[in-house]
Symmetry: C3
Subunit: 256 residues, 3 copies
Amino acid sequence: MIHSTALIDENAKIGKGVSIGPYTIVHGNVVIGDNTQIGSHCEIGVPSALANGKPLVIGEEAVIRSHSVFYEGSTFGKKLSTGHRVTVREKTVAGEGLQIGTLSDIQGHCEIGEHVKFHSNVHIGQHSTIGNYVWIFPYVVLTNDPHPPSNVMLGATIEDYAVVATMSVVLPGVTVKSGALVGAHSSVGKDVAANTVVVGNPAKFICDTSKIKLKDGSGQSAYPWRRHFHRNYPEAMVASWIAEFNESSASDTEQR
Amino acid sequence: MIHSTALIDENAKIGKGVSIGPYTIVHGNVVIGDNTQIGSHCEIGVPSALANGKPLVIGEEAVIRSHSVFYEGSTFGKKLSTGHRVTVREKTVAGEGLQIGTLSDIQGHCEIGEHVKFHSNVHIGQHSTIGNYVWIFPYVVLTNDPHPPSNVMLGATIEDYAVVATMSVVLPGVTVKSGALVGAHSSVGKDVAANTVVVGNPAKFICDTSKIKLKDGSGQSAYPWRRHFHRNYPEAMVASWIAEFNESSASDTEQR
Amino acid sequence: MIHSTALIDENAKIGKGVSIGPYTIVHGNVVIGDNTQIGSHCEIGVPSALANGKPLVIGEEAVIRSHSVFYEGSTFGKKLSTGHRVTVREKTVAGEGLQIGTLSDIQGHCEIGEHVKFHSNVHIGQHSTIGNYVWIFPYVVLTNDPHPPSNVMLGATIEDYAVVATMSVVLPGVTVKSGALVGAHSSVGKDVAANTVVVGNPAKFICDTSKIKLKDGSGQSAYPWRRHFHRNYPEAMVASWIAEFNESSASDTEQR
């Protein structure tokens, strides 16, 4: 399951059932969990002085697609899934179930929670902090320098269940709070309140997220999205989300 | 003409005169037309359950540049031309002469007409519909989810001869009609009328495309662009475009 | 130091102490300076009729990271440094110390001065002119066609010490003058005066750059950035910058 053309350093710690594609390079300071699949043409565990000797740790059951580059010094929980040609620099720590889309670029020194989804071509600047169940869509950039170039680093923070839509920029030091939605092509210069929608350049408050209706004829709110969107989340998590909204419907009924 | 380091599955159907570069992988469920050239470090025909067993079909005389990734399940007419590191997912059908620029990402389930040109770093969301002779410029994203994340998919539609300029977003379900121009850095939330210009965030009507003059000193209109721009289109097509505008000039003269 | 799997054309001129990574291809019309390091999976010196036979010249002590593609016909001064998967087309001439971030795309026919820094995912259109000590941040596009598609090419100009922040577009023929700052997510349709800040879509004048204060508690101006930001510049250059501002402080004091 390790292709004969893959170049694996003898010091790399490779778990059971790992597959590694043709023309992929695995450096020595790397720990790869059981049953992980790594595609072709990757470079895994690129040596870097910035990693201070820390290994790259990939959890179990990861899928890393072709042409991806990971540096040493970052750690990923199990079930990491990447598209093609992702780049991940040093000293990022991510929880279980992280998804990194094709061409995304994680610049390092980031904290990333559980079950976060980055779509394609997402650029996560250094020192970003990302909660759990966050969604970041294509061509979004999280910045960190308030007056570039400088030595001041103010990473962005995206809290649990928040969503940043396509081609938005989150400016340095900004927090997008829990459950908020940043509409497409926005430039976010101020903190976004929980469960609100902002959009525009500069981004402005539009409404509470609950005002946005699903365009599926159901008449339901589109947010919180965990009420209706469950694809690829763990079964137990989905069950808890379903229970949360059943209870909340029951409680609504009682109140009437 | 097939490099000794290329890894070609014995089930792949490779036409006559095909060249395949070093370190490229061709999977089994692939049909490659005669005289196609594939560069180095590509992965062609990536297996995917989403393709439902359909092959990747590349027409004759294609040029696929290095580091590109094509999944099985899509079909391309002849003379496909790509830049480097393009990614094309399952179930896209494209006509003759498609050009896909470096780093572009076609997400799959798209319909693409004849002689469409995507410049670099174009992101075509799933379920996009693109007519003939369309131009899409760098860092444009065609979206599809009106309230992300959800299971509702409303692909964008770009009609014949329309142009979407750099770093614009076409929002879900929007149609850019025939011959329209979306200016750079626009966010298009409503349908764009045929042969009109919109620009801005949100994009607003500016003028008819015929009002934009060529900056070449000729005093002519810059649109329809097929009047003056013919590079890399088939000779017969260019001849018909020339005839179209000769007739229209003649007819203008008669009317005077 | 040249990996056994690297494919090096016998006509390539490779300097002393050059290292070349696994699965990298070096074509024949290439001159690589002493002590340059080239990573894995690159393609260096892609043949092109557009280069008119001119070689690719990489200066001494360059670092080119994995999966990068350089065409023949461009010339780089010493200490070029690139991220991963950069693409550089024909007929660009760049001075010493150019930095090209991951996924950046230099389209060719560009003039680039000394110690220019392109961050990740920068798109430099053909016929751009870039001065010395310029900074261009992620997802910036420099355009060149005033009415796409056409045969008119009006490249953008970015003068010395100017800064273009994340996800901005510089429209065709625009000049960003010396020391100016284009704020994030801007669309720049008019020339930007020296040492001024513009921001927005369309970009508008905000203030002189000197009005922006460093967010480090010092109370100093953030611009000119060379007063406080020196990372990775040559020592002699940094010394001259320090002297410049010491003198200017002294002169300020004398005036009081």
